[in-house]
């Protein structure tokens, strides 16, 4: 029976640099594919909306270099998805550029590269919507309407395995994919080799965060998955980690609302009946997943929209009297802002008083109320379309916490400690406008693949 080995070195390429020792150990197991996801929507909407990356380019180069050199030395394909954190076209092009640079630096022999683009123009989404396509909302969201799309700066479609399978079948030795479902990156080589969608996607779900499926807790260490028939054997490549039934079962529910079902474009992986068995000192066998295909193929679409420019100020409060009347002090500051700019609103400004030491982390979910710490750290966050307004509102907020008029105050030289009397320039604010499902003609239809040969042998270099 056919057995395929997949090596995964990191759960989010370059979020911090991968650990090279366990990766080298994994390469000695002679994997058939080296696979890593490089993106997420966890960092919030700004990287997508602003089309930028949060992973440092030096770390992206570090991780891609390790993977590329190993894959070319072993002569096996390498697959990276959600390039450069967001999987936009910029991210794909950036990673392809890095691959080319690394190939040139190491004088690698020519290889075939597939770049798969996942960005979808907002105008194209609007065209389809206006033509009657229903773009269904996920997680309680309403279907996308014209206003939702008008608020969207940038959108990506989340690819499933099909475009990657097609690239591998066309001979790609390196696949740089735009926004992808994490598990699809691992499912693609398995589907290529004739495995069932059930074991293919299930393997992906278990492997996509690399060493998070093993214990004890370690990030950025490699995991080896060996797939045969309808089962996968998972082994950590760091010698101090173990895959156990508990660690694998625990990971199978990670960062997903529904522990038993993984939704992919075209179907759902049902993990209700999965079984986990310790098959070696550090290896666990997982099996029992089922797959049900959907009647209609829909891809997830993520979209992010700009809401304004951000300015920040940091203010500390130590006076117990001021802390006891913190709501009044903030109300005073809000009042002074409203005197100049009117009430808050999307066309004018929004101001948030983050109260560290008093529900600053948990807000509405904090059960511990009316129990502030002995000092409070206030972060004033202002968003406004006009950066000058944002700056002025932030300054009014910070200085009016300093000048708050409280009836019995004894500290009449300032009711707050300013970390520094300056307004900090933040990155622009964005919101997730789209977390939706787009019906498509096929699972490859919204994606564009460009095959190239990376040939940087010195003779071919331009003078």
């Amino acid at each position: 029976m056919k057995r395929i080995k997949i090596l995964c070195p990191t759960g989010h390429l370059a979020f911090t640099p991968m650990e090279k020792e366990s990766f080298a150990a994994g390469c000695r197991e002679r994997p058939d594919f080296i696979v890593a996801d490089a993106g997420s929507c966890d960092m919030g909407p700004r990287p997508l909306g602003a089309d930028t990356h949060v992973s440092l380019e030096a770390w992206q180069r570090h991780d891609l270099e390790a993977m590329l050199l190993a894959a070319r030395a072993l002569g096996v394909p390498m697959i990276v998805g959600s390039a450069s954190d967001t999987g936009t076209d910029r991210g794909v092009d950036q990673f392809v550029g890095l691959i080319r640079d690394i190939a040139r630096q190491h004088r690698l022999a020519p290889f075939r590269l597939a770049a798969i683009y996942a960005e979808i123009e907002v105008a194209e989404l609007e065209r389809r919507r206006a033509a009657g396509v229903r773009i269904e909302g996920l997680d309680g969201r309403a279907p996308a309407d014209a206003a939702t799309l008008a608020r969207t700066s940038r959108a990506v479609a989340v690819m499933n395995a099909e475009p990657i399978v097609a690239a591998l079948r066309a001979g790609a030795e390196v696949v740089i994919a735009g926004r992808s479902s994490d598990c699809a990156l691992f499912a693609a080589p398995l589907l290529l080799h004739g495995f069932s969608p059930a074991i293919a996607y299930y393997t992906g779900k278990l492997m996509e965060c690399a060493s998070f499926c093993a214990e004890p807790y370690m990030a950025k260490e490699s995991i080896l998955g060996e797939v045969e028939g309808e089962a996968v054997w998972l082994t950590p490549m760091h010698p101090a980690q173990r895959c156990t039934p508990a660690s694998i079962a625990g990971h199978s529910m990670y960062e997903r609302a529904d522990p038993f079902h993984e939704y992919v474009a075209g179907g759902v992986v049902d993990m209700t009946l999965c079984r986990y068995e310790q098959s070696g000192p550090r290896t666990t066998r997982a099996s029992g997943a089922a797959f049900r295909a959907d009647a209609e193929v829909r891809v997830k679409v993520e979209g992010s929209g700009l809401v304004g420019q951000r300015r920040l100020a940091v203010v500390g409060i130590r006076d117990p009297y001021t802390i006891s009347l913190i709501d009044d002090a903030i109300a005073w500051a809000r009042g002074k802002i409203a005197e100049r700019f009117g009430p808050p609103g999307p066309s004018r400004y929004d101001v948030f008083f983050h109260r560290y030491g008093d529900r600053g982390v948990m807000r509405d979910l904090e059960p511990r109320r009316n129990a502030p710490a002995h000092e409070l750290g206030l972060v004033v966050e202002v968003i406004a379309p006009d950066p000058r307004v944002a700056e002025e509102v932030a300054a009014l907020a910070a200085r009016n916490l300093f000048y708050a008029r409280l009836p019995q105050v004894k500290g009449t030289a300032g009711t707050a400690a300013l970390m520094s009397d300056e307004i900090l320039i933040g990155e622009p604010g964005y919101v997730w406008t789209l977390n939706h499902l787009l019906p498509v003609g096929s699972a490859t239809e919204p994606f564009r693949t460009v095959m190239t040969t990376i040939d940087v042998t010195p003779a071919k270099e331009p003078a």
Partner: protein
């Protein structure tokens, strides 16, 4: 004797599940501890809603997972992650109140 969830569970965590949800995992290494918590009713949908003082409708999933000795639930965010005013982009520090849940 009354213990707290902190004494009995080996993993208590929270994390984004997409932009609109925060999901919570309580995982037990010890099967007896899992069964004790499961059967106590102290960690139910209603108990979680009361603990976080939210309408039960905001708990969009609540599952007891026997195969993993785990209890998992998911809370709908009031605003998508990272919206201006955000305090926990990754949703990764919302589990702390679970530590003190008393298990009879």
């Amino acid at each position: 004797m009354a213990d707290t969830l902190r004494d009995l569970a080996s993993t208590i965590r929270s994390k984004n599940a997409g932009p609109d949800n925060i999901t919570f995992d309580v995982i037990f290494r010890d099967r007896a501890n899992f069964e004790r918590v499961r059967d106590s009713g102290a960690l139910s949908r209603a108990a979680v809603a009361a603990l976080y003082d939210i309408p039960p409708a905001r708990i969009v999933n609540f599952d007891v997972i026997d195969a993993a000795s785990a209890i998992k639930f998911t809370i709908r965010r009031l605003q998508p992650s990272g919206t201006p005013g955000e305090s926990d982009v990754f949703g990764s520090q919302q589990y702390a109140p679970l530590f003190d849940v008393v298990i009879p």
